[in-house]
Symmetry: C2
Subunit: 195 residues, 2 copies
Amino acid sequence: MLDDKALDTIFRQARTQNAFSGTVSDAQLRALYDLMKWGPTTMNTQPGRIVFLRSKEAKERLRPALSPGNLDKTMAAPVTAIIAYDLMFYENLPRVFPFRPDAIKGFQGEEKKAGNQVVAFRNGSLQGAYFIIAARALGLDTGPMSGFDNAKVDAAFFPDGRWKSNFLCNLGTGDPSKIFARSPRLAFDEACRIE
Amino acid sequence: MLDDKALDTIFRQARTQNAFSGTVSDAQLRALYDLMKWGPTTMNTQPGRIVFLRSKEAKERLRPALSPGNLDKTMAAPVTAIIAYDLMFYENLPRVFPFRPDAIKGFQGEEKKAGNQVVAFRNGSLQGAYFIIAARALGLDTGPMSGFDNAKVDAAFFPDGRWKSNFLCNLGTGDPSKIFARSPRLAFDEACRIE
């Protein structure tokens, strides 16, 4: 069991940040992936993909897709990650799920495409959450966002259509003076039941 | 930053378990929700819902929906959680996102239903991942599963159609002798790029 300080760092005191400073190195981005990658996915499919935008040129390609409320903070963040998923994730199955060599057959064929989208979106989203928690665990602040034009991001960064954008996440050192008071969470009895 | 032991507990050494023993109390289930609830969601929408199945009667209602490979281990687990999402999540927005009192309008109306499904599935899945990490952080082992019939679960547990099942997750104390060797993860350069 984690101690109180660790629980605070990844959940209880962590906040979505709006203003970021500092720098984020390649080594930090690799450490972040090397931690989040261990989170479980269906049949170890691992459809999650990440494009880390750090250069001015890459950020400028993202600019037209951002909603007004997310524009300035994202352009100023040290790194903005595009959390995406790979619709052809199953090509890796013979290597990443060796216990069932024929598992790939369950995903091949035109009639499997709708189901594959569900698997990719569900598990790519799980991996997006692992990304957020792993970043916090490694001392980075995060600013996840859904307020952007997915189609514009996909056209600019994934023109072949194989990867699809899910959400964006700014990374860096957050400025706690630039956030609102914390919003309330649903009570246990609103969100859960025990049967 | 978390120490190595904590990183091992939530990511590096944690494994999806197949055989569970022990008991899981109401207090543990409430502590789990009270931790995972802090994870971020789009506009604090919190569409994730959880039904904890612990009684024999509740498990029997789940039985017909389970795939053969997940049947025995799930019937034997101390608790099986149905990780679900609420398609009417936006009804809570005036209370949980008080900064924009009119935010609810962006989700109301027949023409918003397809978009609402995407928001609920994305964020409900993020919350499903928070659930897995929070359980591990509190000393529980997890066994998340997609191998079941979602429509059967929805008919048995959510007959009004408002909540939808996402995935299942067994909870308890895992038996490390009942798992396979760990499957490989994709390398950084397969899953990520830096621009």
